[in-house]
């Protein structure tokens, strides 16, 4: 009996260890941490064989140069291949260290990939299917080629990837930066059947700038938003938090900084086959700048300024809504989301030809309410 129990214990131990243990021991210095990935379509000159489609660029830190090394703190390298997985296995043929994607912060898509539906669909499937990629990396579109980003030498940061990710994380303080993680990107593409708004990253010599966003329809880039429109996009999709709005009142430009920015949608009526949607926006914040010597702590004046801000929000919003309805002809501003969640029966009836319905039969009205709570330190 004792022997049997012993045997059972050993069997149980072997089961837990052999069937479920972690057997993938790789020492930390044998890993090559990939901090950013850039994806372009391969240029003719780069082709090794004619089937090559992608150029994947990687950036990894040179770990012993990070603190006080004379050399560069990061290196970039690229591979040209037919698919993601082939590219990655090709890297194993070239480097002794193993790529580790657990700390990848950014993924950059070149403009040409975004313009080609087939290329984009293939690469997205490859990346989202492969288990080693990190789903919370930030996604960007780069006008021109993505590998250009890796030539930037950041002014204050040793490493490129945390620098760019740091800009994205500023989206709490400025509404002009759109924050999009890779998993959100995949979800949005799935939900919108190929529609996407993705932040645009413009590389320069010593810095990069998040400047507006690219708009995709049916897995294809159809246009860009400028950075003011990107802010309005954030307002309309309820992603804005902090940020600034500039208005001119009495020939004095003043800045309203909002700390909270809430958008709510309601459907007041349905008439003549048209759906009327109200976007109610509520913002709270402070006046940051006016003019020396002018009394600002005056209810009437503050009310007028807030009217001015409300008007600006409404105007800008309606301009962008118009752009989406008439120029892009795609609903990425939350109306579909609202209808499918809160009016499912109604949505069922229009689901099949939604895009046409959106451009013709949905009327969106924006109503803003602005509360100015503070006026700064001086009276």
């Amino acid at each position: 009996m004792k022997a049997i129990n012993c045997l059972r214990a050993v069997a149980a131990m072997l089961c837990v260890m052999l069937l479920a243990g972690c057997w993938d021991k790789i020492e930390i210095e044998d890993r090559l941490f990939v901090l950013s990935i850039g994806i372009d379509s391969a240029e003719e000159a780069e082709h090794q064989i004619s089937e090559d489609k992608y150029t994947l660029s990687f950036v990894s830190p040179v770990v012993d140069q990070i603190k006080e090394g004379p050399g560069p703190a990061f290196r970039t390298y690229k591979t040209v291949n037919r698919s993601v997985i082939m590219s990655l296995s090709q890297l194993l043929e070239r480097f002794s260290k193993k790529q580790f994607f657990g700390h990848t912060r950014n993924i950059f898509f070149g403009e040409d990939i975004m313009k080609d539906e087939k290329l984009l669909k293939e690469i997205l499937d490859g990346i989202s299917r492969y288990h080693e990629f990190h789903n919370s990396m930030y996604a960007y579109i780069v006008p021109g080629r993505a590998e250009e980003v890796f030539k930037v030498k950041p002014m204050y940061d040793k490493l490129l990837a945390p620098y760019i990710a740091g800009i994205i994380e500023n989206s709490d303080y400025t509404s002009k930066v759109i924050k999009l993680t890779f998993s959100d990107m995949i979800i949005m593409l799935e939900n919108q059947k190929g529609g996407l708004v993705i932040p645009k990253l413009v590389p320069e010599k010593e810095e990069v700038k998040i400047n507006g966003a690219g708009v995709l329809k049916d897995y294809k880039l159809i246009g860009y938003l400028d950075d003011q429109e990107a802010a309005v996009y954030n307002w309309l999709t309820n992603k804005a938090k902090g940020g600034t709005i500039e208005v001119v009142y009495n020939d004095i430009s003043t800045v309203f900084r909002h700390y909270t920015f809430i958008r709510k949608i309601e459907m007041p009526k349905m008439e003549g086959g048209k759906i009327y949607l109200n976007y109610n926006i509520e913002a709270e914040g402070s006046i940051e700048e006016y003019m020396m010597g002018k009394e600002i702590l005056d209810n009437v004046l503050l009310n007028k300024i807030s009217r001015e801000v409300e008007k600006k929000i409404e105007d800008e919003s309606e301009k962008l809504i118009k752009k989406f309805r008439q120029e892009f002809k795609v609903d990425l501003i939350g109306a579909k989301d609202y209808l499918s969640k809160y009016q499912p029966k109604l949505y069922k009836t229009i689901e099949n030809d939604y895009e046409k319905f959106f451009t013709d039969n949905i009327v969106i009205k924006v109503t803003a309410k602005v509360n100015i709570r503070r006026v700064g330190l001086i009276k």
């Binding site: 972690c22 930390i28 210095e29 890993r31 990070i66």
Partner: protein, 529 residues
């Protein structure tokens, strides 16, 4: 029948061995027998002297030089019998029982006297440091309590120093130790049962308890276990501890050891039982729980939140000392994804060029540290500081400069060492140290999964472990609310109204006086108005 006869003959033999040898009436015969029994014991003093007008009353005083107090013997035996008897001659002029009675009940101004007619008892009394007075023509001898050997004074316990609290600690002398405890419990219900353990050493073992608080079953169990001990000698209380503990394979101490009489007293008031052993300044306390090993007497002397913070730190320290090196190994070799990117990169940078895997590196450093600790312990104090310097340079700087270990590993080992020193109980920290090494190996093979396996094994061992019938994890295994008041958080003393439910009976300890104090304050302020 054969069985019985065997047993009987065994008994007879035993009686002879025990030497139920009645003293002879003849002093010379007694001397001869004693000298034969205590042959080649050159430290025994046979002092023969005569008293009386005719110098016909013969006495023999036997004691071991160095173990009995000469002053006491001089004053209360020799002086009183020889000098005073000359000033006032004794009424008994002839040797015999009359003389014995006179001496026994009036002649010896010593506080501790007993009479025996058995040579073996006399020999034992001599061996434990008493003096024995033989009188010619009677078979009785008088045992004079004259124990007085060189002993260390009561001093501050080295291993359990406190900021706040009494400074006295146990010594090697049993009687002083019992007195130190009794001074703190002036209750007739404090009992001290003395046993003598060891066939050759006859070591005094005292079992102390408070009669109406300690559970009778616990007491019975303690006596039963001690009575099973059959050993030639008890050198230190550690012998008793190892002979009566529940699980000899467990890395956790199931009996707590203390040098502090205040801790013993406090434990007795909680219903525990203390075992004091002669020749050892360490008292044993049973039953012991894991929770009680994290407590320090200071916790009760300081204000409650100070104690609670310190306890929290101790629990944290024990967890760190158990899993820190193992987690470092697991994270660096298996799961670099769970740390922030910047930290991982700086860790990878620190590991650059180190020739060993993390597991080996950690093992080298931990073993070096253990060596240093052990060496520092053995060395005399003046040289001990040299070890600190060597250790600081060897582990700290040279190993890193030589590229054998990474600086982060040095930090990990240092934090682990500091943590293991902040566990108040030494044996517990040794247990954690042992488990730490096994967890390191598990982490090196299986990563975090291995650590979890190891922790699960330890946890399942802990919940199964018992100390004298009390679950080792109590009060965490029970649902008695009042017991939780003295765990990680030590509540203010006025709320600790009850003794631990698992251990004690008669549980009410104090009444909450807070409302009385507040009421008086209120009345005082009302008066002012």
């Amino acid at each position: 029948m054969g069985f019985f006869s065997k047993k009987k003959s065994g008994n007879v033999k035993k009686e002879k061995e025990m030497g139920k040898l009645i003293n002879s009436r003849n002093l010379d015969e007694n001397t001869r027998r004693l000298k034969e029994r205590l042959k080649d014991c050159d430290d025994i003093v046979y002092k023969e002297f005569r008293v009386g007008e005719k110098q016909n009353l013969r006495f023999l005083l036997v004691y071991i030089d160095g173990m009995s107090s000469r002053d006491l013997l001089n004053v209360s035996v020799l002086n009183s019998l020889m000098v005073h008897a000359r000033e006032v001659p004794p009424e008994a002029t002839e040797p015999g029982d009359e003389l014995f009675k006179l001496v026994r009940y009036g002649g010896l101004p010593a506080s501790e006297l007993a009479d025996k007619d058995n040579l073996e008892d006399a020999v034992l009394a001599i061996l434990i440091g008493d003096a024995v007075l033989f009188i010619d023509s009677t078979e009785k001898c008088i045992i004079i309590g004259a124990k007085g050997w060189p002993m260390r004074g009561v001093s501050e316990p080295n291993t359990e120093a406190l900021i706040r609290g009494p400074r006295d600690g146990f010594t090697e002398t049993f009687r002083i130790n019992t007195a130190l405890v009794r001074r703190r419990i002036r209750d007739s219900r404090l009992k001290l049962k003395q046993l003598s353990v060891g066939k050759r050493s006859f070591t005094d073992v005292g079992i102390m308890y408070i009669e109406d608080i300690a559970e009778p079953e616990l007491l019975e169990e303690v006596f039963r276990r001690i009575n099973t001990i059959d050993i030639d000698a008890i050198i230190e209380s550690g012998y008793i501890e190892q002979l009566i503990e529940d699980n000899y394979l467990s890395p956790f101490p199931q009996i707590s050891v203390t040098e502090r009489p205040d801790e013993v007293a406090a434990s007795l008031y909680e219903g525990r039982v203390a075992i004091l052993v002669d020749n050892s300044p360490f008292a044993l306390i049973v039953p012991t729980t894991l929770n009680s090993l994290f407590q320090s007497p200071e916790d009760y002397y300081d204000r409650w939140y100070v104690a609670s913070i310190l306890r929290f730190i101790r629990y944290m320290a024990s967890i760190l000392s158990l899993v820190l090196p193992a987690s470092y190994i697991a994270v660096t070799s298996f799961h670099p994804g769970i740390l922030p990117a910047k930290l991982v990169i700086s860790m990878a940078a620190a590991r650059q060029g180190i020739p060993f895997p993390v597991l080996i590196e950690a093992f080298i450093m931990e073993v070096t540290f253990e060596l240093l600790r052990e060496a520092g312990l053995r060395l005399p104090v003046p040289i001990g500081s040299a070890i600190g310097i060597v250790g600081g340079i060897v582990i700290g700087t040279a190993a890193v400069d030589a590229g054998i270990v990474s600086p982060i590993m040095v930090i990990i080992v240092a934090i682990t060492a500091i943590s293991s020193f902040s566990i108040p109980n030494y044996s517990l920290s040794v247990g954690f140290r042992m488990l730490r090494f096994s967890l390191m190996f598990l982490a090196g093979i299986l990563g975090l999964y291995g650590i979890m396996l190891g922790v699960l094994l330890i946890a399942s061992h802990l919940v199964k472990l018992k100390s004298f019938g009390i679950p080792y994890m109590s009060p965490y295994v029970s649902f008695v609310g009042s017991d939780y008041k003295d765990t990680v958080v030590r509540v203010p003393i006025f709320l600790m109204g009850k003794r631990p439910a698992q251990i004690a009976r008669n549980r009410i300890r104090l009444k909450n006086n807070r409302n009385l104090i507040n009421r008086l304050e209120q009345e005082g302020s009302d008066d002012k108005e």
